[in-house]
């Protein structure tokens, strides 16, 4: 099975500081890592390859420094790596990014695409699903387990807030991975040396231009406007009221709302 895993290099912190003046992330001095959910995706892909054979190609869009993230993926055991990088791609939002990555994926042969659910720096969870839409592929998001994988289909467990779905989906398809899917393996020492022996292919604008318009990419092609960035306030734990009749429940809710002067 030919598997492609899309990964993103992100700042290594859950407490990313935001520049209050510009509303953008302060990245200086923060080490970069592979986004956690994406790393889970790599592990899932390697596990499937171990069972079915085939190849795992890792793809990342980013500046040349994203090379390190790709080397790490190779050192974990991925076969090939592609860096999607060009000046024209800078400033892309999720919509433009998914268009560029979809164009890059058209250059590759695949049966299965795995992305992380979302990146810890943007938290949008949009790029994976958008790639699937742009490639007209079936998709399953929030995958917490690969129940079965065969050449022409995969069976996965999709996490829901209050349960799960078991979904059988034909390949080619796209899955978005969450942390529960797998515990990523370490790189191996020999793998690191091998990783730097391998060539990382760079897909620039010229290679992808048949599938891209300049006004679909970069800042210009990004419909998202960041109105404001802020650090989330921690909410208190919710209250659950059990064993109430509908009448009692209504009464309790109304009372709470009145207490807080909402009604």
């Amino acid at each position: 099975m030919k598997i492609v895993v899309c990964i993103k290099q992100v700042p290594d912190t859950v407490e990313v500081k935001i520049d209050p003046k510009t509303g953008t992330l302060i990245r200086d001095g923060v080490p970069s890592i592979i986004n956690h959910d994406d790393k889970t995706g790599i592990e899932a892909a390697l596990t499937i390859r171990e069972k079915l054979g085939g190849t795992v190609t890792v793809v990342s869009m980013g500046p040349p420094q994203a090379d390190v993230a790709l080397r790490e993926a190779l050192a974990m055991g991925c076969d090939e790596a592609v860096l999607v990088s060009a000046r024209e791609f800078g400033g892309s939002d999720t919509y433009a990014t998914s268009g560029i990555i979809a164009a890059a994926l058209k250059q590759l042969d695949y049966d299965l695409i795995i992305t992380g659910r979302q990146a810890i720096d943007g938290d949008t969870a949009q790029v994976g699903p958008q790639i699937a839409e742009k490639l007209h592929l079936p998709q399953v998001s929030y995958v917490e387990e690969v129940v079965d994988a065969k050449e022409d289909y995969v069976v996965v467990r999709r996490q829901f807030e209050d349960g799960y779905h078991i979904v059988k989906v034909k390949t080619p398809c796209l899955l978005t991975a969450i942390a529960e899917l797998a515990e990523p393996r370490y790189m191996s020492v020999g793998g690191v040396f091998d990783a730097y022996q391998k060539e990382i292919r760079v897909f620039g604008f010229d290679l992808l231009k048949d599938d891209l318009e300049l006004d679909m990419i970069g800042l210009k092609g990004s419909p998202t406007n960041v109105y404001k960035s802020f650090t989330k306030e921690v909410k208190g734990a919710g209250t659950i009221l059990n064993d109430l009749t509908p009448e009692q429940a209504v009464e309790a809710i109304v009372k709470k709302l009145e207490e807080k002067f909402i009604i």
């Binding site: 080397r71 790490e72 370490y186 020492v189 020999g190 690191v192 040396f193 990783a195």
Partner: protein, 380 residues
């Protein structure tokens, strides 16, 4: 002179740290308390290629150099000196001599599984009466047909019992003195070879340190490492390698102690402020950090000179001497900064102090290192 790591080393440092923090550190206290060998960690070390770092890929290794290997021992040593010495003894003292002195057949048969981590290695040189004076070997190896027959006892052997492959030094011709000493590869389970008493130690208590007992133990003559009479030379060259490993372990212990201490002094309050805000603490830690950095440069220089193929015995001796004495000094002074809590087993710092001491003793005491250094100065 250039200071900088290769791209591979930058990525590997990350791997080493993460592995040490996640897989090794949580076990350190338990291994010490229970004097338990970290079998489960060895299996993981093997899986991720930590047991063959400086050997070529064709022999099952990772294809790295000695500096890259020293960095691994250092990072493991920061959190658990026991785990660091398991790797160091295996790599430097067993796989090392087979790589440098073995025949192609011996490398194929013994080095490959050692470097892949399928087998664990140990080295038997020290005897009850042959410690610092390693030439006083009482263990004998007599040729009988196609076999050598080994008789004698080795003591203080790291990884003993858990190792599958042993490089053993024995006397083949007493009349020739050190030129009558030879080296052999002995497999675990060979009839006549057994593991004796396990030592109860002050530090590195998870490491298995036992006697090796040979009673008419017959090994095929093709298991001689190098030529007959080369054993002492092999043993000394092996210790040169080993010293970089032990120096890296000592460096790791010192750095780990400083990390723990910095954390502690920024939490502990006395007289209404953090003790880390007091000048005595600051000056003391500034001193310790400077010392550790100097150790690091010396250890890395020894490793780099070895990698460059230049003479490094004196540097390995200096590195081990300085790293060992510094690790003891640094950990002792860290305990002092911890105060009463540092003397309890609630914090890892007392363990680090106990662990540090051995780095001044094994694989050549500090005094032996000074002899090597003095010889290099031509003070004969």
């Amino acid at each position: 002179m250039e200071f900088g790591y290769s791209k591979e080393q930058v990525l590997l440092r990350e791997l080493y740290r993460k592995f040490a923090e996640t897989e090794v550190k949580p076990l350190a206290e338990e291994l010490d308390e229970e004097e338990r060998f970290p079998v489960e960690t060895v299996e993981k070390l093997a899986r991720f290629g930590f047991l063959g770092i400086p050997f070529p890929k064709k022999y099952g290794g990772a294809g790295g150099d000695y500096l890259t290997y020293a960095m691994a021992v250092e990072e493991l040593g920061k959190v658990c000196a026991t785990t660091a010495i398991v790797v160091s003894a295996h790599t430097s003292l067993c796989a090392g001599p087979i790589y440098y002195f073995g025949t192609e057949e011996q490398k194929e048969k013994y080095l490959v599984p050692l470097a892949k981590g399928e087998k664990l290695g140990a080295f038997g040189l020290t005897e009850p009466s042959a410690g610092t004076d390693a030439s006083m070997q009482q263990t004998t190896a007599k040729l009988d047909g196609d076999e050598y027959v080994l008789n004698g006892t080795k003591v203080f052997i790291t990884n003993a019992g858990y190792a599958d492959t042993y490089v053993v030094i024995a006397m083949t011709d007493k009349s020739k003195g050190t030129k009558g000493i030879s080296a052999f590869i002995v497999e675990k389970g060979t009839p006549g070879f057994s593991i004796g008493k396990k030592e109860r130690k002050m530090g590195i208590r998870g490491s298995a340190t036992c006697e090796l007992i040979f009673e008419n133990c017959r090994i095929p003559k093709e298991n001689m490492l190098g030529k007959e009479g080369q054993g002492f030379k092999i043993a000394m060259a092996t210790l040169d390698n080993g010293r970089i490993g032990v120096a890296s372990q000592a460096l790791g212990i010192a750095e780990g102690a400083i990390e723990e201490c910095v954390k502690y002094v920024m939490e502990r309050k006395q007289f209404g402020k953090k003790i880390g805000q007091m000048q005595n603490t600051q000056f003391e830690l500034a001193d310790l950090a400077t010392k550790a950095e100097a150790v690091k440069l010396l250890v890395y220089e020894a490793a780099c000179e070895k990698d460059a193929g230049r003479p490094y015995s004196h540097l390995a001796a200096m590195a081990k001497y300085f790293a060992g004495s510094s690790a003891s000094d640094i950990t002792r002074r860290c305990v002092q900064l911890f105060g009463g809590y540092g003397y309890t087993r609630d914090y890892p710092i007392e363990r680090m102090m106990r662990d540090a001491k051995i780095t001044e003793i094994y694989e050549g005491t500090s005094e032996v290192q000074k002899i090597v250094i003095a010889n290099w100065l031509k003070l004969k």
